[in-house]
Symmetry: C2
């Protein structure tokens, strides 16, 4: 059932740990995301991007799911990272999360591995 | 950009905790899912269904994302639960996961709360 367009979709899922005392701040930011940041995300070929929260062991964890429809993920991520508004947004969001060891910048989201997919 | 068809999509995300000694069994099952179970999932109006794994605190956790495109989620889930092949599949999968308190049957997947979505 893949059309040529759908065949180019790449799915990503990331997990983050929130600081319990800052989860409300993180939720508040995402209840009113900055339009310029959303626009940059879409310009960088991301769509159907969701973030979920669930407490695990009493600690709020975040799970994000997104679909990438461009041709050069690394280049689009670099473009996003160079955007001043996005940098300001990350400066608000990232202190709400716990840095994970061994990750590439920004270092708060860890890749989850896809083990099953049904179109 | 929502078309009438897309407007009826409901997204779900669920989190589960795997038994460390049984995660390989779970991964093996999902590397070769039963065609009849996949067909029932699709017949029950689920699409774009992915499962991810990531260790949190050293314990493998599963995160699933799916989109529901039908008109009666509860009825479709009841139909799926009544399918004998699906029951056999769940009998293989569910012992790999840790029962969560306070959940409805099958009691191993917990709802995660959507806090952000960008189409």
């Amino acid at each position: 059932v893949n059309t040529p367009a759908l065949a180019s979709v790449r799915r990503f899922a990331w997990v983050a740990e929130a600081r319990p005392e800052k989860i409300d701040r993180y939720l508040g930011l995402h209840a009113a995301p900055w339009p310029s940041v959303n626009a940059m995300i879409k310009a960088c070929n991301i769509r159907n991007y969701s973030i979920y929260v669930r407490r695990i062991g009493g600690v709020p964890h975040l799970f994000s799911y997104l679909e990438y429809v461009g041709a050069d993920f690394a280049a689009d991520m670099a473009r996003m990272a160079a955007d001043p508004d996005t940098q300001r947004w990350w400066a608000e969001c990232m202190p709400c999360l716990v840095a994970q060891p061994g990750l590439t910048a920004p270092g708060v989201w860890a890749d989850a591995e896809e083990i099953y997919h049904l179109p």
